[in-house]
Symmetry: C3
Subunit: 133 residues, 3 copies
């Protein structure tokens, strides 16, 4: 079974911490041990893990990514004007796996799971699937 | 069982839409519900998801990636002259997971699955494995 | 069951080949056919696949990534001064899947699995989980 979540974003570019949402979906599935697959069914948003302690980290990441992939470039042809968002989405990726043991998501001390919005604000979907051992 | 597919590329850099190929491999496996793992056994090609509606998107992505990772750089030491392709391959990644429900690949409306060629033209391999619930 | 490995790094930025370590963990699990998930529980290190034949490739990759993501930037706010490492970690990713058949890790001829250190030297953890068919 795929749990289908909705995540509302508020800005064009934003990292939304979905760790609690995924943890809750996991608890409702009764998962004890296995692997969780997260999947973002969009082409201008992604899923990633990074630090959840200092909010400056995700702010620096968004700014850093925008320096790497400029919003405007003379060679962009895509008429919607969001080619940068498509590139960033592929750089971070659409799918991710997390380990589960004793019913708990196994994350490092400073790790949070983020939906990365690159062309918001929008209502985004996040799909969660647990595979038991 | 791993389904081993061949994908022929025609250019040095190219995004090849493999969605139909993966869908067919899935149908032949009789898969109903679970997770599909895609794996590219190369170091200068990758697997990614992006928009399949407007071909300008993948063109912009290839051009954008080439601006980020220059083909020539004074510090590249690797004698084959394809260090840019190795970097791009790691940025997009070698493996990906897709969800399956009711025998159908679960993708977003605009999502296509692409083998990303960065050092072609070549005959590339794409491995597909379905894990049932 | 999650196998929890320790990988010691010696430099600030380094690709450590963990292929043999993962292969050994797999052998001890008695795995025959399935999928291995690798997970790095850190926010300034990552997991990636690239060429294991010519060491110039990983050297070029590290140098290339440092050109893409500068170590110092006027807009970085994070006080630890390692925002570049956080960005690189998300670009390469925290999780990866490898296929297993006949008890053997299925890798391409030139592929090696690397823990990518971007803020070492440190003692890093690498988690390995095998899911049987």
């Amino acid at each position: 079974m795929v749990t289908r979540l909705i995540v509302a974003t508020q800005q064009r570019e934003q990292f939304i911490d979905v760790t609690a949402t995924v943890t809750e979906a996991l608890a409702q599935s009764g998962a004890r041990s296995g692997v969780v697959t997260l999947f973002v069914p969009h082409t201008t948003a992604a899923i990633t893990i990074n630090e959840n302690a200092d909010p400056d980290v995700t702010a620096d990441m968004l700014k850093g990514l925008s320096e790497i992939v400029p919003r405007a470039a003379s060679f962009y042809r895509h008429a919607e004007g969001n080619s940068d968002a498509h590139i960033k989405a592929s750089l971070l990726g659409s799918s991710m796996q997390l380990l589960v043991e004793d019913g708990k998501l196994q994350l490092g001390t400073w790790q949070g799971v983020y939906l990365a919005e690159f062309d918001g604000p929008r209502e985004r979907r996040l799909w969660v699937k647990f595979a038991s051992d």
